[in-house]
């Protein structure tokens, strides 16, 4: 195994890791937001005034994917 091959495989691993970081956190955020989102839509249908509040609650899990994204970008650049 030459040095180039090692470097290439390292770069590939990095890319894989970045992809996993974004993809898996995306799935996690999606699963978490699923229940909150449906409840939020129901609540908004009953009372429009809670829109601001339920929007906040719905996007709380998004933090996960943001962290994944940051990790991904840190890995790549």
């Amino acid at each position: 195994m030459t040095l180039e091959m090692v470097q290439a495989s390292q770069a590939g691993m990095k890319a894989l890791g970045a992809g996993l970081a974004v993809g898996l956190t995306g799935i996690g955020a999606g699963v978490a937001e699923m229940a909150i989102g449906s409840a939020a839509v129901g609540a908004t249908a009953e009372n429009k005034d809670v829109f601001g509040l339920v929007l906040l609650l719905t996007v709380i899990p998004e933090t996960i994917v943001i962290f994944g994204l940051v990790v991904g970008l840190l890995l790549l650049f």
Partner: protein, 657 residues
């Protein structure tokens, strides 16, 4: 600016005979937000009762109900109509008395006839459905009835039937179920029934008809089509009525609505036998207008005064007070929640920062131009105040994305003929077509982080102002200092990070002289800020400590400005590469018939791809920009929940005095 319209609490007292002119005057000015008088709470209002409607209230309500019924019947809605000419009220009043009953009768006759014909059609369809099963059996429908010695069975069966008694049977095979008619002696009825049950028999009622089935069905179908013709004619008549009277009807509706609202206004006043009292709010700078108008209208027989406003207990209605360019953003504020009267109104900030975020995300001259054209195009079709505001917001956003597109040097994913003035977002897709050195991701990320830090800092400063305005006593200082604490923690963390690593676009504090244990002076300052900040937060509310990680997550959340933007650039470049690089260019070198097909396919990919990407870009750019405001910015200072200022009166569109 940054503050809602100043309101004054107005008290109006007059004798009951002045109620009519006072109500008319208030309605005309459309400025007085009535505080409904509620008998239960009545502090200082002992002996007062809720007023009774002015004379003529029930007549106008009746007329309004009639108008609305006619409007429903011929499908006229005020929102769909452009006011052409304004109808004077006196003329309208006469017309309502003279023409409305005639029109009502005409429309009523037509609709009654139509509904009768509709029921007739349903009956005929029912008859056809009853005859349908018998179509395949070549027997006159008369022959199914009127036997004393025989029983007739008709119905669906799952399989063929075998009978042991003498019988006559017609069997017609169907796709899903078979239809059978059996005639057997009446005294052996039970045996036949048993045999049929075994074949999963479902009885079908025998229609009260005579003649062969198919001609009967044809006869009824003919009747239905002639009736549908009649219904279509009635519908045409109704459309003629609509064309002719739509303007008159909406004008009538508006006129009667103003009358109803005025005659019913006393239901919101406190009254005694001889006097009435109305309380409400007017914008402070309009007080003189309202009070002078009332004095003039009543010949001075009225008492109007401003009551002191108690900000702690009074629920003051809120009306925005923004410069004209910021007004469309009020719609985005109302979606979240209207500000409270004592709160800072962040509409101005929103109206400036939202387009900037949108531009940073979409940042493409091509998409920006298309969006701009779309905004102006839609404006011609879509009506309504809210839609107009939304389109104005989009217009500002698209102008901003054109500007940022010029800075990023992007046009539908291609590079413009100059190098990016801001940090490059050109990805290396399709062999680095866009040229340059690839995207400047670290710089872009740091830019997003800076935007986040500044935005959140502004939010916290607003939070300090809000708490100093709204809170009282001991809590006020604590709450203000807690907000300062959050700022101190955020900047403290930032300074500590600067001393650890050098980053683009950030001050490099790693080279400062070390003080002790490899820690330099800036790190100590940062650490102290962090600790002091945490203490200040805990002093206000210890539970808030668990929220500390949100400092990092909220700042990092602004990375979406770059991430969403880059993804739309990537999609655009991929579309370009597939359409032009892979499908069109190779065929242009040597044109064949199949090559032309490929070129057409390439053009289709190009158009559909960019249309989809633009839709995604609007959604992504709009939603993420507004979310950064709602979630990251507003949570720092904004509560909302203010009451909408809803003055007594109406913007008249179809009528005039």
């Amino acid at each position: 600016m940054l503050k809602p319209e100043q309101m004054s609490r107005l008290l109006i007292v007059a004798t009951r005979d002045q109620m009519g002119p006072v109500v008319a005057e208030l309605y005309y000015h459309n400025l007085f937000h009535i505080e409904d008088y509620v008998e239960a709470k009545a502090e200082g209002y002992e002996g007062f009762k809720i007023g009774t409607p002015l004379a003529g209230a029930s007549e106008v309500s009746n007329a309004l109900v009639k108008i609305r019924a006619i409007q429903n019947a011929i499908a006229v809605h005020a929102d769909d109509l452009e006011p052409v000419t304004k109808c004077p009220r006196t003329e309208l009043k006469l017309k309502i008395e003279r023409e409305l009953p005639i029109l009502e009768k005409e429309v009523e006759e037509l609709t009654i006839r139509r509904s009768k014909l509709d029921t007739r059609v349903k009956e005929l369809e029912q008859k056809i459905a009853e005859i349908k099963p018998f179509v395949n059996i070549p027997v006159d429908l008369d022959l199914y009835r009127g036997y004393s010695g025989f029983s007739v069975f008709a119905g669906y069966v799952a399989r063929e039937v075998t009978l042991t008694v003498p019988y006559e049977m017609y069997f017609s095979k169907g796709k899903e179920k078979n239809f059978v008619v059996v005639v057997a002696p009446a005294n052996q009825r039970s045996e036949v029934e048993r045999a049929l049950q075994e074949s999963a028999y479902q009885a079908v009622p025998i229609p009260e008809e005579s003649g062969m089935p198919q001609p009967r069905i044809d006869y009824y179908s003919g009747q239905i089509s002639s009736i549908t013709g009649e219904i279509a004619e009635i519908n045409r008549d109704l459309i003629v009525v609509r064309e002719k009277h739509a303007g008159f009807l909406v004008a009538c509706e508006e006129f009667l609505m103003t009358e109803v609202e005025q005659t019913e206004a006393p239901l919101r006043f406190a009254t005694t036998k001889e006097t009435f009292v109305a309380e409400g709010w007017v914008p402070t700078h309009q007080f003189d207008t309202v009070s002078n108008a009332l004095v003039n209208a009543t010949g001075g027989k009225i008492f109007v005064t401003v009551l002191p406003t108690d900000l702690e207990h009074d629920i003051v209605p809120v009306e925005y007070d923004n410069p004209s360019f910021a007004r469309p953003a009020q719609m985005l504020m109302d979606v979240y929640s209207r500000p409270k009267y004592t709160e800072l109104d962040p509409t101005l900030v929103l109206s400036i920062v939202f387009p900037i975020f949108f531009g940073l995300i979409l940042g493409d001259v091509g998409y920006g131009l298309m969006l701009l054209v779309m905004c102006f195009g839609l404006r011609a079709f879509l009506k309504g105040e809210e839609t107009a505001q939304l389109l104005a917001v989009l217009r500002n956003a698209s102008i901003s994305s054109i500007i940022f597109g010029l800075l990023y040097s992007e046009f539908l994913g291609f590079a413009l003929p100059w190098k990016p003035i801001m940090f490059s977002r050109h990805l290396k897709i399709g062999g680095g077509e866009a040229g340059g050195h690839g995207p400047a991701i670290p710089e872009l990320m740091m830019m997003a982080i800076w935007i986040g830090i500044l935005h959140i800092t502004l939010g916290r400063i607003f939070g300090m102002i809000n708490h100093s305005r709204q809170d009282h006593g001991d809590h006020r200082i604590k709450a203000v200092m807690a907000n300062f604490g959050w700022l101190a923690v955020m900047w403290g963390i930032l300074i500590v990070i600067w001393t650890i690593a050098a980053m683009p676009l950030m001050p490099d504090l790693t080279t400062l002289p070390k003080v002790a244990m490899g820690i330099n002076i800036a790190a100590i300052v940062g650490g102290v800020m962090l600790v002091v900040g945490v203490l200040l937060i805990a002093r206000d509310s210890a539970l808030e400590i668990v929220e500390l990680p949100t400092i990092i997550s909220h700042v990092l959340s602004y990375a979406r400005i770059v991430a969403v933007g880059l993804s739309s650039v990537a999609i655009a470049m991929v579309v370009n590469f597939i359409a032009i690089g892979m499908l069109i260019t190779p065929q242009l070198e040597n044109i064949t018939i199949i090559g032309v097909l490929f070129i057409i396919m390439g053009v289709a990919v190009f158009l559909i791809g960019h249309a989809l990407n633009m839709a995604l870009g609007i959604l992504g750019g709009g939603l993420h920009s507004i979310r950064l405001h709602y979630v990251e910015f507003f949570t720092k200072f904004y509560k909302g929940g203010g009451k909408k200022y809803n003055p007594f009166g109406m913007k008249r569109r179809f009528t005039e005095d």
